[in-house]
């Protein structure tokens, strides 16, 4: 007698869990060193030592009641100020503490934003392929998610389709940059065009259409690529961020929302975010983590490690004849399935102990996601298996 909606969610979740258990069983059978698990997007590079030191110092030096206590639902003023100044230095923005709301990770941030802006029946557009959790985040707040199809030759969005999909009901567009699952970075040109389309549609429909940017991978970029900072392109923008990947601390649930100072009704909207943080039961971002962050905003995990993985796996897979757009950020690679049904490709890969996630989970069937946040050694060990997998398709 649990909620009907949840019964479906549990079924979906069980499917993922079944896959996870299957992997575990496989590891038990053939030995974990012979299983090549590219299915999980979990950070695996070190937590910066300075961050751990900041935690210890906070506990040793600060008043414990203040350190572990309630603060404004938006977060400690000092942390909010530090985040604002850090963004201003890096992206030439003009944030102050009143534009920053500290959150329980980016997942918390997105739910807080959607709670604040969505009326029942409002539509949110997402650019396929996209992180499947967005569907839940939107439906939690009685919104409906609609998809914009990709240009699969580049995995930049199909802007003609974006334009066509915006209706009277469109309240927001959610963007993930760099993109999970493709590793693509939306270029400055793409972002400018998106901003232009949204501006024009706002005028046409006489109401705000928000741009919601989900940026947990902002710091994981390669070859000196630039990730455009969206408040510099479009006023009605929320940037949501998580420190999960940049500091390798996904379990701590710490992130923020940066609200463009030029957003319509900015102050009241920030009040709304703060109230939503409370009502949704987050109340505030974990306090010790907020304190420890202040001195660690420029700390980074070992991004070069992921880059080394990226180069190896991209080079080898393309050599073997697999097709994919070269990832520029995040730690994913989106491979075209050599046969139309990705499910069959995933099954064949499993025969060689390679675990992948089907593109259907990201609303982009015919592809598979490979997460290379794994050890370099595992990638090396997996290469003969990929060779055999490729051979199977050459034979056909």
């Amino acid at each position: 007698m649990i909620a009907k909606k949840m019964q479906q969610e549990i079924a979906n979740s069980s499917a993922i869990r079944a896959m996870f258990l299957e992997g575990k069983e496989l590891a038990e059978k053939v030995g974990s060193e012979h299983v090549y698990d590219f299915s999980l997007g979990n950070p695996m590079t070190p937590v910066p030592e300075k961050y751990n030191q900041a935690i210890i110092e906070a506990v040793q030096q600060e008043n414990a009641l203040e350190l572990h206590g309630y603060m404004d639902n938006a977060g400690y003023p000092k942390t909010r100020r530090a985040v604002a100044e850090n963004l201003n230095q890096r992206f030439d923005t003009k944030f102050d503490e009143s534009n920053i709301v500290m959150t329980v990770g980016a997942a918390g941030a997105l739910n807080v934003v959607f709670k604040t802006i969505l009326d029942p029946g409002d539509e949110v557009l997402a650019l396929a392929p996209y992180f499947g959790e967005y569907r839940g985040y939107v439906s939690n707040h009685q919104g409906t998610l609609r998809e914009v199809r990709p240009d699969t030759s580049t995995f930049q969005p199909d802007l003609t389709d974006l334009e066509a999909k915006i209706t009277e009901k469109t309240k927001a567009l959610i963007i993930n940059n760099p993109v999970n699952p493709t590793g693509v970075i939306y270029s400055r040109e793409t972002i400018q065009k998106i901003a232009d389309i949204l501006e024009q549609k706002q005028e046409e429909y006489h109401h705000e259409i928000y741009l919601v940017s989900d940026e947990p991978y902002r710091e994981l970029v390669y070859d000196g690529m630039e990730v455009p900072f969206l408040t510099n392109y479009y006023d009605n923008t929320f940037v949501t961020y998580s420190f999960s990947k940049s500091l390798s601390i996904p379990g701590e649930r710490i992130g923020y929302i940066a609200v463009c100072p030029q957003m319509a009704d900015c102050a009241r909207t920030v009040s709304g975010l703060s109230v939503a943080n409370r009502i949704l039961g987050f109340v505030n971002a974990p306090s010790l983590m907020q304190k420890a962050l202040v001195s660690s905003l420029n700390e980074r995990t070992d991004v070069a490690y992921y880059d080394r993985n990226r180069k190896l796996i991209y080079e080898k897979l393309t050599e073997l004849g697999f097709t994919c757009v070269k990832p520029q950020g995040a730690f994913y690679l989106f491979l075209k399935s050599p046969e139309p049904e990705e499910r069959k490709f995933v099954e064949k890969a499993k025969k060689y102990h390679i675990l992948l996630v089907g593109g259907s989970s990201f609303s982009c069937p015919g592809y598979v996601r490979l997460a290379y946040c794994v050890s370099y050694e595992m990638i090396l060990r997996s290469l003969p298996a990929f060779e055999k997998l490729a051979e199977e398709y050459r034979e056909e």
Copy 2:
């Protein structure tokens, strides 16, 4: 153009903020030592030293990627096991780790429970007076909150009204024990009667009616009073807990849900809670806090401090002729307004720099809540002001 529902929430929130600012202004005008702020329910007794030590040891000794990393959405198995065993020792229950879901505080826990069990239009009953946030927690998930009236002579619930309010649509009853704002503890007899009513109504309507127990004040009890543990009385029970008060760490957002092992469809329901934790954007309870808890489950803040406050303020206020039920737990006292309109009483108290919250915020007009989680010295300083306030009513 933010959500319509949120506009009302922001207005309510602004009223509270206005009160807060008024208090601040008053403190600036007359000096903070002459302002007697009994409006906030913030813990103010020390964080146990052992807990802070556990945090430092975890950071120094554990693998950082594991310490700050993702785990199952329900929490670290070791923490869940420790919580289960601790409850079993104290309450003669039969939990194991599969019955425990670690959450972002009790507020997070309640949202996770409601997301899991509520279909749109389902009703949740609350026993007035109750913590006003429950309204939001229920409506977040398209449920409707209905109130059961209090027996104001004892502030135990009016069980005849409870029985009358249960309908075909009732999915759950939420209980807070000890109660914010009255400080009353629902007795074993009350709980047994509630369980009997729910059992009978379950049979009548052929579906589960869940008991959701919100217990952040469980450890804050006085005079050796017992707080009945609800899974021992009723099978379809969720106990939600927060360490905010027992360890004075409200900013850290750490709590749990304990699911009665005899609950109908128990395993699937726990899966639902775990999935809800993810979908709602909590993902998991903060990881470092989960680790630090394991060795601190029997630690307590200085409960005797609150007890000393309780005795002083209760004794003095009743001496002055004010009426209230003697609190048995939590750190609140619910005073009868000497005039029918509590708003006027709150205003008169403010004249003497005493800040109180009206009972209407707890769906119980004609009363005010006084939070005695303040310094003993402030209570002593406030007594002459209460004397003047009492005099004002004697003159009338």
